[in-house]
């Protein structure tokens, strides 16, 4: 069946821009397309008058399925489901790729059941092999990995951030545009009452090149002040393990890990974090991990490239002060 070779990426343009996740998914999608020989489509959810479709044309996308909506950002994933479903009916994909965020994690499984296909969430890899699709994903709190084989699709896969390079434009590529029917807001059942952000104004964890993260070992909210001083020297974002979030020492949006954010900085400094699989699932792909922990046996040292055994109250200010000196030199 020729049609079942096609790859479909779900992308959302907000504030006039496609997120990095879209370009990561395009890299994966192009690799899948090279194996299956099918067509690469993108379902583009566009807010307002943004022209994301022409931005995509340069990236080896064959068809852009476009839906416009004045305020996607105010709608939950329910609103996107019929649109992506309509695109799937036209594109007949073997694989649908979505980012594994709050939207994708709800939309993906629902779409899979609606299409009577299979769902694979939080994938770290998707390959096409001998007529089936294989998805690799962490399980058991990040301690293990499983590979699943899907024989009949479509396979709807949500993919973790930061694992694939950003796609580069391909010379000479062209795409056609298919307009999808507009959303009928009267069909929506989930209504937004209010939304509040708890992210600070520092660099976003998802984009940060350097992250300083704290855990239960900080022993209280004041510990984050110590981390913030270091982060300021390094131009770093501040994150945390789940414990400080649960204890209210820091905002929930700082949580890194299996059920928090997936981050891939160049440098990850873990302070007072034991290194549970659940936590490492969110930061294990950082290029260099540095651990500061008073327990020489802490599991985090198995993941760290550099480590200091000691009380963070002494180690971190010394590190910050010395970084400042090195910068000035």
């Amino acid at each position: 069946m020729a049609a079942e070779k096609n790859i479909l990426v779900v992308a959302e343009a907000t504030l006039g821009k496609l997120p990095p996740a879209t370009y990561e998914l395009l890299t994966l999608a192009r690799r899948l397309k090279a194996t299956t020989g099918g067509a690469l489509g993108v379902v583009l959810l566009e807010e307002g008058d943004v022209d994301g479709a022409s931005a995509l044309a340069a990236y080896g996308v064959d068809v852009v399925y476009r839906a416009k909506c004045a305020d996607f950002a105010r709608l939950t994933s329910e609103a996107r489901l019929p649109i992506v479903q309509a695109a799937c009916e036209q594109a007949q994909p073997a694989v649908v790729l979505l980012p594994h965020g709050v939207l994708g994690a709800e939309l993906g499984p629902r779409l899979a059941f609606r299409l009577d296909g299979g769902a694979a969430t939080g994938c770290v890899d998707v390959v096409a092999q001998a007529g089936s699709i294989h998805c690799t994903r962490p399980c058991y709190g990040g301690l293990a990995r499983e590979e699943q084989r899907f024989e009949h699709g479509p396979v709807v896969a949500t993919v973790r951030a930061g694992l694939f390079e950003l796609a580069q434009p391909q010379p000479g590529s062209q795409s056609s545009i298919v307009e999808l029917p507009a959303l009928d807001p009267s069909e929506l059942r989930v209504a937004l009452v209010k939304r509040e952000s708890d992210a600070g104004d520092g660099p976003r964890l998802e984009d940060a090149k350097v992250i300083v993260a704290g855990g239960r070992g900080l022993e209280g909210p004041e510990g984050f002040k110590v981390l913030q001083d270091l982060a300021a020297e390094l131009g770093a974002a501040v994150g945390s393990s789940r414990v400080p979030c649960d204890l209210g020492w820091c905002p929930h949006s700082w949580q890194i890990g299996l059920t928090g954010k997936t981050v891939t900085p160049d440098l990850y400094i873990a302070v007072g974090i034991s290194g549970a699989g659940h936590h490492m699932a969110g930061c294990g792909n950082a290029k260099t991990i540095v651990a500061i922990n008073s327990d020489p046996e802490a599991a985090i040292f198995q993941d760290a490239r550099f480590g200091v055994v000691g009380d963070y109250r002494e180690v971190v200010p010394a590190l910050a002060a010395q970084v400042r000196k090195l910068k000035q030199a």
């Binding site: 709800e106 939080g122 699943q148 440098l267 550099f306 055994v309 010394a318």
Partner: protein, 266 residues
């Protein structure tokens, strides 16, 4: 209001690292004998959410705990009953023991249909074994009801429920009419402990055992969509270089120098 809470029994996910291995041939996780089986933590919180709704609304809230699993999963139902669930359903069938997300969702959805008038289905955001987060949403899709995921708070309002949910960078509040399915996240907070009175009563609360035939599952619904082809523990090959000093302070200073020399400070 009749609430069904979907609870799955899993190996206790805390401190698994030290004891867990995998058998790559049988594709099974290997745990030491006696490693405790517990209600998956997010499902405990889903039950807690149901109990909080009853605290809010009153005795008119009926709570049914539903599990799909082997004999041992009965313990999970007993726990739910001793926490305050009114009755329980154990989906129990050799044909369903290795159910994937697809088969599990069809079996659970069929059980909810069989229960009749369910207003609200609560599930965990993901089961703490394979961490999929698929089954609850699949049940919503099969039942054709709206879903709200990653809830950290839920209360009854006129004509439905108001749900607070966790976003990547904050929170949002939504309203949804019933029937609906809501998946619960850990931000819901602490769960209550079983109390003596409920534990005593639990022994007399009804537990139904239903098989695939009683649920009227068709062959296509029993057909898995995926097969596990590998299960492995990723190798760690990082060697940690410990930076030391006469004092922790000095070690911190030396760490800065070492990171600078390794050109990782940017």
């Amino acid at each position: 209001m009749h609430i069904a809470v979907l609870i799955k029994q899993v190996p206790n996910p805390d401190a698994l690292a030290a004891v867990m291995s995998v058998d790559e041939a049988s594709l099974k996780v290997v745990l030491p004998p006696g490693h405790p089986q517990v209600v998956s933590p997010f499902d405990e919180q889903a039950l807690e959410a149901a109990l909080r709704l009853r605290d809010q609304v009153g005795a008119a809230v009926k709570i049914t705990a539903v599990t799909l699993g082997p004999d041992s999963a009965r313990t999970a139902l007993k726990q739910a009953l001793s926490l305050g669930a009114d009755d329980a359903v154990h989906i129990h069938d050799a044909a369903l023991l290795d159910a994937d997300s697809h088969v599990s969702a069809h079996a659970l959805a069929a059980a909810i249909r069989k229960l009749g008038t369910i207003d609200l289905v609560l599930a965990g955001r993901q089961a703490a074994d394979f961490d999929a987060g698929v089954v609850g949403l699949g049940v919503a899709e099969i039942l054709g009801v709206p879903s709200v995921s990653f809830a950290c708070g839920i209360e009854a309002v006129d004509g439905g429920v108001q749900v607070e949910r966790v976003l990547q960078d904050g929170f949002e509040t939504v309203q949804v009419p019933l029937p609906a399915l809501v998946t619960i996240s850990n931000e819901l907070g602490e769960v209550r402990k079983p109390n003596l009175r409920e534990t005593m009563r639990a022994a007399r609360k009804p537990v139904a055992a239903w098989g695939a035939a009683e649920l009227g599952l068709e062959a296509s619904q029993l057909q898995p969509r995926s097969r596990r082809t590998r299960l492995f523990i990723p190798q760690k090959n990082t060697q940690c270089e410990f930076i030391t000093g006469a004092t922790a302070f000095e070690a911190g200073e030396r760490l800065a120098q070492r990171l600078h020399d390794a050109r990782v400070l940017g």
